[in-house]
Amino acid sequence: MHESGDTVDAKVGNIRVDATRGRVLTETDSAADVDVGARANPSRYLSPVDHAHRLSFLSIPAYGFGLSPTTVTCDTGGVTSVKPLRESTTEGDVLTEKTVKTERPWNVVVWDDPVTPMSVVVVIFKRIFGYSNNKCTQLMLTVHHEGRAIVWSGNRDRAESYCVKLQVAGLQSTIEKDE
């Protein structure tokens, strides 16, 4: 709290309260500025109602005015709605709905053939997809036992590219849209 003669009775943050005039002063205003400023542009000072609202908004107990410590309340003088100092945009963000289109992925399928060595299939999978040795072996065994295996899924362009790479490496592969 900062007191200076009779003019300033309370100070909260950067707000000074002039008890005798019922006005709130900013911290940078000097006594001369207040008098000159008040005559030149009265609107640059907060009204007691605004001041009380700001103090209650900050939930800071105001001291002074010769009263015991208490919380300043807002007397709106019959006005039922007071515009908040800061409007929240959270509600608008949450309620925003976006439509996301999903498409079925394309699968790269490798087919079994009776002549290709198993170890070659593993090496080709590792080289093209960068999968681990275990995953490549698992995929190779799926091809061997089930006749085919889906080795990659995703968008069409990449599926086509992987399919071409597998064919260049000598494996029988195709692409198909996921069921």
């Binding site: 009776p114 170890s119 070659v120 090496v123 849209k177």
Partner: protein, 144 residues
């Protein structure tokens, strides 16, 4: 064990080719036929090099087909050019493996060897060629 291998990974990263002259003749024949099949639409292996990418479409994307053709030809030509080399780097060894594998699968497709039964019943000379290419592939796969 190293003495029995056809391809050996050296400590400096290169892959040593230990094929004798007979093995290199077979490799030359395989690589040469892939290069020829890629250029000749009437070659018996040509169909095996142009299998469908998306069977649900009447024709594949021309860009994808062109890309496949270019990469197969590049690998086959690189393999053919390095036939007499004693040491291969990784890219050359990958070109050898890809071209051997294409030769193997094209042979199977051209002769209708699409099942274990048909493979077991094929002619001895053809079976010998297939087994030889498979041995080359086993050796390369161990190094890559």
């Amino acid at each position: 064990m190293v003495g029995n291998r056809l391809f050996v990974r050296r400590r400096d990263g290169r892959i040593e080719v230990r094929l004798n002259e007979a093995g290199r003749v077979i490799a030359r024949e395989a690589f040469g036929r892939v290069v020829a099949a890629e250029r000749d639409p009437n070659h018996e292996w040509h169909a095996g090099l142009n299998s469908p990418i998306d069977p649900s479409e009447d024709s594949d994307s021309p860009l994808a087909s062109l890309n496949r053709q270019r990469e197969i030809a590049t690998n086959a030509e690189l393999a053919y050019m390095t036939l007499s080399e004693q040491f291969l780097n990784d890219s050359e060894a990958w070109a050898w493996l890809s071209t051997f594998q294409i030769a193997l699968r094209s042979t199977a497709v051209a002769n209708g060897l699409l099942s274990e039964e048909k493979l077991a019943a094929c002619e001895p000379e053809l079976m010998n060629f297939i087994r030889t290419i498979q041995q080359f592939l086993f050796g390369l796969a161990e190094c890559l």
